[in-house]
Symmetry: none
Subunit: 191 residues, 4 copies
Amino acid sequence: MLPSALDQKKKRKKELLLSAAFDLFVEKGPSSTAIDEIVRRAGVAKGTFYLYFRDRNEILNHLIAEKSALVIREADAAALKRAPSCAGEELLIIDDEVVERFRRDPKLLALIYKNLSWGLFAKALGGGDEGKRDLVERLSGGRPLEEFVKVVSMVLELVSSVSYSAIILEEPAGIEEMKPLLIESVRRLIA
Amino acid sequence: MLPSALDQKKKRKKELLLSAAFDLFVEKGPSSTAIDEIVRRAGVAKGTFYLYFRDRNEILNHLIAEKSALVIREADAAALKRAPSCAGEELLIIDDEVVERFRRDPKLLALIYKNLSWGLFAKALGGGDEGKRDLVERLSGGRPLEEFVKVVSMVLELVSSVSYSAIILEEPAGIEEMKPLLIESVRRLIA
Amino acid sequence: MLPSALDQKKKRKKELLLSAAFDLFVEKGPSSTAIDEIVRRAGVAKGTFYLYFRDRNEILNHLIAEKSALVIREADAAALKRAPSCAGEELLIIDDEVVERFRRDPKLLALIYKNLSWGLFAKALGGGDEGKRDLVERLSGGRPLEEFVKVVSMVLELVSSVSYSAIILEEPAGIEEMKPLLIESVRRLIA
Amino acid sequence: MLPSALDQKKKRKKELLLSAAFDLFVEKGPSSTAIDEIVRRAGVAKGTFYLYFRDRNEILNHLIAEKSALVIREADAAALKRAPSCAGEELLIIDDEVVERFRRDPKLLALIYKNLSWGLFAKALGGGDEGKRDLVERLSGGRPLEEFVKVVSMVLELVSSVSYSAIILEEPAGIEEMKPLLIESVRRLIA
DNA sequence: TATGAATGAGCTTTCATTCAT
DNA sequence: TATGAATGAAAGCTCATTCAT
């Protein structure tokens, strides 16, 4: 067995745990998910859980970070594919993708909607510092970075909390009705 | 003892419980607050809790509804005192008051920030239907009511979630720094 | 209001409690019936219960005695109507009536099946000592009373426990199948 | 430690619980026995109880089944030792042994007297199907099996409920006085 | 690494009973 | 007699965590 294969096998249980925990967290909420259920679904022994995570909170945070970053990374990737009609539209398209992602997977939304932030956004842009700076500059349209960060944060707050209200609670209306206003609002915020 | 006095005494226990529960919920979070502690702090017997509430969740919802409404009602009242410099400013002033309220009482913010909605807002405006319609008309500045409701909802979402990030997490910056942008954003949304 | 009417009114609550308790006991079993439910169904206050009964056990015993006696009294009455084809058949007919009664009302059976006894039987025959002795003499067919009492007891034990098994548990067969054997068995016991 | 040793240790806890529960159930009745007491007497932790049984009812049923079967198995074994004076007497001897067993251990009787059945009887005969069929044929004295089963059931009902009345309640007389009649009754039922 | 039996503190909830009215 | 709010002991049950294997 090659070292890499061994490494893979070593991490296998951790991933089984993460995956089982994620499913249960979105199914019934983190606080009503017992460690017992997680290990049962993961097919590992109870003690094994404590080999990889200190407690339920740790695995929850792990998942939230991972999934939040994933959402943004995916939205970013999708936005790259869709050629922005004009400069400055990119952020709008990303938001649009985030909303659509949540619409397709409301349970995921319920789990992470409080946790989208610029920090994750920045991490998601990731990669070399060079490319990152380029992108940020492109997105920011020349505005001072510090201010731009705040605006992006606010935009993410708006998008995720309105998505939550509209998709999960359908309050004050469903996402179909709310989305045009939401996108228009984002446009105004980043104007 | 007159019936009213008895009723008052009855209500008193319920209020003692609500007050004790509120303190504990904001101090240590709802899910780490034991019923035991609530009744101890309220100075009533454990059974009494179950005379008034089915479980911890019920008292929590009760509190969230009550406190959320209170925040909006207070902001509204405060806004009335401050003469709006010009028409259409009223909503801005209300938001400003909400932010200030949260700034003074971050624990309250932590408890209810997910629960501000147009529904509560409308209820808080309360009173006679006459006056209510007047106010709404005034606030809406002639826009169709349905659209206005959605805008107010979005504004509340933005204000409460940005307040949460800025005040509790100081992310991406403290409320001092974020507030001007937030108010400016609100101005844009309701423009 | 005449004294008798007053007395009636006085006893009214007690009867309401007994009736409510009986319904609940047969519906869900004595040990899962709370005093709270009894008073709620009876439409009286909780304290009132303790005015008439010391605890749940007391009302249960009261009911068992009352209902057991009723079953036997009714069976006896019904037997009197059906002219026994020949002397010595009377006990058989009574047993037949008891079985039929239980078949019509299995819940009652579940409540009292452990409590049919000669004591109740004797009480049910009730009335003047004269008539009682006559009946017993008639039933006993000249056997010494003491022995006859034991036989009747055993017959009642057999009838009620086989009814219970057959009607409630359908074990080893339903009452339709078991009844002929049961009646035949009783005939042999009293031969 | 070998698996078998581990298994044994595991089984031990379960048996400690069963034994403790049995003692308490016969001492003070199942419904007044707290899980707390059971685990204290068994010398295991509370959680361990719930590792092996869902609730008090489950352990109770477990015990009733086990002890009922034991009573019949023992009576059967004892009957085998006592040479039946003549064919067809075997069932009488078994009943006699059951009565004696109950007389020696009234608490056991109080716990299980509602639960003696042909099903247990059949299981107790157990062992190879060959021997079982032989025994049943021998016992049944050539009668059709189905009818024989019903008769044995009725006999067991009679024996256990009369034992209960006579031994526990001494009603209508003690077991000394009742036993001859009971045995005579059984003789008639199986005639 | 991996296991899973065992733990026991701690939680929620029930409910018989009291007593001021 | 009658009430029903209040009580608080006691019960059932959960579950994160440990540890010997």
